[in-house]
């Protein structure tokens, strides 16, 4: 009996040890896993903040190209039709409200960030274009067709060179020039994404790309058509049509993942143009008031109504002098307030040239420049 009791006691002793040990181990494992998850999330937010910081700094200086290491989880950008734009790393997301144009997902090699100024003719904002060498762009043009070859030349001459470090290419805007005759023989290369840019030529799917996922844009005189195809579709299908407002907006369409991102970025830029032109017009009114509404002879007539002398807070756009720089700025403010689909693109272009001329004339008259 005594032996039996001792044997049973030993069994329970060992069962107790196993259960207690298992509980302690389980506790520590779950704690470690939780900490790992928290650490991972913290890292994502840290990387997100760093990317946000770099994007913000890239926007400050225009005409520059730089690179950032792409997070291993990938850097994703998206914009809804309502212009809720955000970029995210895994589950960590951050909204943005600037003209940033990027493919849906950047993964693998370093990200190439190109900042280009949008001038009308003064700097309004900087457009940020993102890509990486894993994405291949094909510029399809017709060298026999003047509009096509001219636009192609214009587009390719401004593209920044690859970014190198110790004589090795770190990242670049990976594009290839393809004539319409070469298109049918184009081979499918091993890239994560393919994007075709049809420059004043009809949209054609290269024969060897019929089973390949790809996206495309077709540029003509006034509009840009956004297209895409999946592996199942042998031809490109139209997704969206938007207007373009110059060479910088065409670059925006090249880099943007879809028509929504393009439209949101361009409309943001137009909003900035509307505000900036108004500020410059009011500023010009102030300069006129300070130089003209004094007893000293001379002064600079910039186009503000004469009543500005009595009313310093006058809205100069109510009755500006015809043909003046203030009138041009006010017209620019009005045009830029319209949505992209109703934008007077030609008017904007004309005003850009007129403003440049009028601003230079001011210097000849020893008046302060408006911009």
């Amino acid at each position: 009996m005594a032996i039996n009791k001792k044997a049973v006691e030993m069994q329970f002793h060992w069962i107790f040890i196993i259960v207690a040990g298992a509980l302690i181990l389980a506790f520590f494992f779950s704690f470690a896993l939780k900490q790992r998850a928290v650490g991972q999330e913290r890292l994502q937010y840290t990387v997100l903040s760093q990317v946000d910081d770099i994007l913000a700094k890239s926007q400050i200086k225009g005409g520059t190209a730089q690179h950032i290491p792409t997070p291993s989880q990938g850097l994703a950008f998206s914009c809804t039709q309502g212009c809720d734009c955000a970029f995210q790393i895994d589950n960590a997301q951050r909204p943005f409200n600037q003209p940033i144009f990027s493919p849906e997902l950047l993964r693998g090699q370093d990200t190439f960030i190109w900042s280009a100024e949008w001038k009308q003719p003064y700097r309004v904002t900087n457009f940020l274009f993102l890509t990486n060498p894993d994405i291949k762009y094909y510029f399809v043009y017709d060298p026999q067709n003047s509009p096509s070859s001219t636009l192609h030349r214009e587009l390719t001459k401004n593209i920044p060179p690859p970014i190198t470090q110790n004589k090795e290419i770190v990242t670049q805007f990976n594009y290839q020039n393809v004539t319409v005759s070469e298109l049918s023989n184009l081979e499918v290369e091993d890239y994560s994404q393919h994007k075709f840019v049809f420059i004043n030529v009809p949209t054609t799917t290269p024969a060897k790309f019929d089973k390949t996922e790809a996206s495309a844009i077709n540029i003509d005189q006034s509009k840009i058509t956004f297209l895409s195809k999946t592996r199942r579709l042998s031809n490109f299908q139209e997704n969206d049509i938007q207007r373009h407002i110059g060479i910088t907006s065409i670059y925006a369409a090249i880099f943007a993942q879809d028509g929504a991102m393009y439209r949101c970025g361009i409309e943001h830029a137009l909003g900035k143009l509307s505000t900036t032109s108004k500020i410059l017009a009011q500023r010009a009114g102030q300069i006129q008031r300070e130089t003209l509404c004094t007893e000293t002879p001379g002064g600079c007539i910039l186009g503000a109504p004469i009543t500005i002398c009595q009313n310093p807070n006058l809205d100069v756009c109510q009755n500006p002098i015809q043909g003046s720089i203030i009138e041009s700025l006010c017209q620019q403010h009005t045009i830029a307030s319209a949505p992209l689909s109703q934008l007077d693109v030609n008017g904007l272009d004309l005003l850009k040239n007129r403003l440049d001329t009028e601003n230079r004339k001011l210097l000849q008259q020893s008046c302060p420049e408006v911009f």
Binding site: P95, Y122, K272, T276, I279, Q282, F371
Partner: protein, 157 residues
């Protein structure tokens, strides 16, 4: 009797073990909390500096003209007009994504002058606020002179 002593010994070891464990966990979480707080303050500081940098490079404020271009500078006339525009609700909402919940003030130091509030958007509830101040130039286009000024950015969380 021996069994009882053995049991007490086991219980004592377990008690000491758990005391040490919880002491370790408390110490770890306290240090984590202070590290997170430090990181949060650093991030806020960085954000405030970024806001100032963003404001100084806006075409609505900068000193970029045909003949003269100057970094770290605001045009005095643009400042007057822009601050008036930003006092309107519509424009304030338009620039909220740019400046968030913050107050941006510009004060001339030499020659001295009155402070101009460029942007003021204070939230209903303020848990913390951090101020970042930086010297800047203020350009007068009529006199073609640059004054020494300060831009003060107050960010709210």
């Amino acid at each position: 009797m021996r069994g009882q002593i053995k049991m007490f010994e086991t219980i004592a070891v377990l008690i000491v073990f758990f005391i040490l464990l919880f002491a370790g966990i408390t110490f770890y979480f306290t240090s984590q909390t202070s590290a997170v707080q430090k990181e949060r303050t650093e991030a806020q500081n960085q954000y405030a500096y970024q806001l100032a940098l963003r404001a100084l490079n806006l075409p609505e404020l900068d000193c970029s003209f045909l003949v003269t271009q100057r970094d770290n500078c605001v045009d005095a006339f643009k400042l007057n007009v822009f601050s008036t525009l930003l006092s309107e609700q519509q424009t304030l909402e338009q620039y909220f994504p740019e400046f968030g919940y913050s107050t941006i003030k510009i004060t001339p130091i030499f020659p001295s002058g009155s402070t101009k509030i460029l942007y003021d958007n204070t939230p209903l509830e303020v848990n913390s606020n951090l101020t970042n101040k930086n010297p800047i130039l203020i350009y007068n286009p009529l006199l073609d002179t640059y004054s020494f000024g300060v831009i003060e950015v107050n960010v709210y969380a």
